[in-house]
């Protein structure tokens, strides 16, 4: 037990030292703090973009889905792959525009593109509402991983507080560079742990992958293919399509994009990232291996940790716990920094235009501990509804996609009113369908039964696009040339 505690403690310390060291020789003005001075090369941008593959959600959730749902877990691999393909064409124009106009946040992008600070505020609100559940989920994962992997020597509450303090210190000190440096340590650890567990467990318990899958098929027939009902092929296709559109709409991704040195950085990453995320397959193997060994878990999220406790000595658990805590700290730091930046830049500066970049940078750094404290409060006080809230949040940020896509096209017929109408209608539809648990066949009873499992998020996206087009067509003649988007 003490060895696990020692290893986890050492990695907390390593993350802190590495994160703070990242500021060496840099003057942390607003651009340096938020987007690394737009000077990061392929490797650091790769680490920031790939960092989104291995959050606590995938570390625990990926194995949990394989353990409890089987083949439908493959949707995680599919949407990630498609998102990286799209990034080849989507990210370079966003980066170019951000560099040209000195942008540091997603809200900056929308407010400048559509020449509308009010639209920037709307996007900031959607982003903040979506990011807080995501940050809380990282802390909840941290709590679960550290408490379990240290055999209770570090309580969940203590783990959350230590995590929040570490994130706050290195985000305030180093901003985005702190996240990038810590991401390097994280990816080495996660890759090592996931590959080791994903290969060792099937061989140790079953003698290989083939016997493991035959065992799973014997105890759960049909588990390794998509079912005919529920999470069937129609669900798979609609969910993959919806999720890939929302993938790059998270506000903290924009900071990673703006940090790139040139456009080719993103095209290179679009080549490497699909095969890199194939490592998630090994996360699934861990979940499948757990089916025959710990068949009746009360909490599916514990599949990876429970089979590890059953199999390995404490020092190995310490390494697994260390990888898990890094999987929480890196995305946690990006989310914290982005939320602080959005409040300072897109709320405070919008309503106080005289504030200069030095004041905004200072305010953003002061807001980091405030954001961390709010996240700690929701982590320790919130219920299990946070995963449901996160799925809702994912649907929220997806509503930004239509107006963003129009804005990067050579000729954008969308107007600021159309963009705002689309986002508001889309978000309202997401809330309505989720609160009332409305299915697609209830909304559109004339549809064939075969489409009953289409993800209802598609409805919100269609409503969004209709509102965007109709309002843009109606308002375009009313706008002066200076009111339309900037190039």
């Amino acid at each position: 037990m003490n060895s696990a505690l020692l290893i986890i403690g050492l990695f907390f310390l390593a993350a802190l030292v590495l994160g703070i060291s990242a500021r060496a020789g840099k003057d942390m003005d607003l651009e340096e703090w938020t987007v690394g001075g737009r000077s990061l090369g392929s490797i650091f941008v790769f680490l920031l973009l790939a960092g989104e593959i291995y959050t606590t959600f995938t570390f625990l959730g990926g194995s949990s889905w394989a353990y409890s749902k089987g083949a439908p877990a493959m949707f995680i691999l599919a949407y990630g792959c498609f998102s990286y393909v799209i990034s080849y064409w989507l990210l370079p124009p966003i980066w170019r525009y951000g560099k040209k106009h000195g942008l540091v946040s997603q809200s900056d992008f929308f407010s400048t593109k559509y020449n509308s600070p009010a639209l920037g505020v709307l996007v900031a609100v959607v982003g903040l509402v979506a990011m807080m559940p995501y940050l809380v989920l990282q802390f909840k994962g941290l709590k679960l991983i550290v408490e379990t992997a240290s055999y209770g020597a570090i309580s969940g509450t203590a783990a959350v507080w230590i995590g929040a303090v570490v994130v706050t210190l290195y985000v305030v000190a180093s901003g985005l560079r702190g996240s990038a440096w810590t991401a390097a340590l994280k990816d080495v650890m996660i890759l090592g742990v996931v590959l080791f567990l994903g290969i060792y467990l099937p061989i140790h318990y079953y003698g290989g992958f083939d016997p493991m899958f035959h065992h799973v098929e014997a105890v759960k027939p049909g588990f390794l293919a998509l079912p005919k009902d529920g999470k069937n092929p129609v669900w798979f296709v609609s969910t993959v399509c919806l999720t890939m559109l929302g993938f790059y709409m998270w506000p903290h991704f924009f900071a990673s994009v703006f940090s790139g040195r040139d456009a080719r950085v993103f095209r290179r990453n679009a080549v490497v990232l699909p095969i890199y995320q194939l490592m998630l397959l090994f996360v699934f193997f861990i979940g499948f291996a757990a089916i025959g060994q710990i068949p009746h878990l009360a909490n599916d999220d514990l599949a990876l940790l429970q089979i590890s406790i059953q199999t390995f000595p404490p020092w190995v658990l310490g390494l697994i716990g260390a990888a898990g805590l890094l999987a929480a700290l890196v995305p946690g730091s990006m989310l914290t920094m982005t939320m602080a930046t959005v409040v300072a830049r897109n709320f405070y500066q919008t309503f106080n235009p005289s504030a200069d970049d030095r004041q905004i940078a200072s305010l953003a750094k002061w807001l980091v501990p405030v954001v961390s404290l709010i996240a700690v409060y929701f982590t320790l006080a919130g219920g299990r509804g946070i995963v449901a809230l996160l799925l809702l949040a994912y649907s929220f940020v997806t509503q930004l996609f239509p107006s963003l896509l129009l804005s990067v096209l050579p000729r954008n017929f969308g107007t600021k009113y159309g963009a705002a109408a689309g986002i508001i209608v889309g978000v309202a539809t997401v809330v309505y369908t989720n609160v009332t648990h409305t299915t697609l066949t209830q909304l559109l009873p004339f549809l064939p039964a075969s489409l009953s499992t289409v993800n209802t998020g598609i409805v919100a996206l269609v409503a969004n696009i209709v509102a965007l087009v109709v309002v843009s067509v109606l308002t375009r003649p009313l706008l002066k040339e200076s009111d339309t988007q900037t190039t």
Binding site: C81, F209, F213, L224, P233, V271, V272
Partner: protein, 61 residues
């Protein structure tokens, strides 16, 4: 829009289509159930396709 970019549609067609025509357990390939193998194979091929696009795209020269 370059014809070269149309190559990027292949993974979309194959993986999304695979949910219907490759959605089965047998035969096992490389120890994996067929549906899992199909998706894993196309993810590897996606990286290769994107590599070809990157290499031939004049924007990167």
């Amino acid at each position: 829009m370059r014809p070269l970019y149309l190559l990027a549609l292949l993974p979309f067609i194959s993986i999304l289509g695979g949910a219907f025509f490759a959605n089965r357990v047998d035969p096992y390939v490389l120890g994996l159930p067929f549906f899992m193998f199909w998706i894993a194979m196309w993810i590897v091929l996606t990286s290769i396709i994107m590599g070809i696009i990157y290499a031939l795209d004049p924007n990167n020269r």
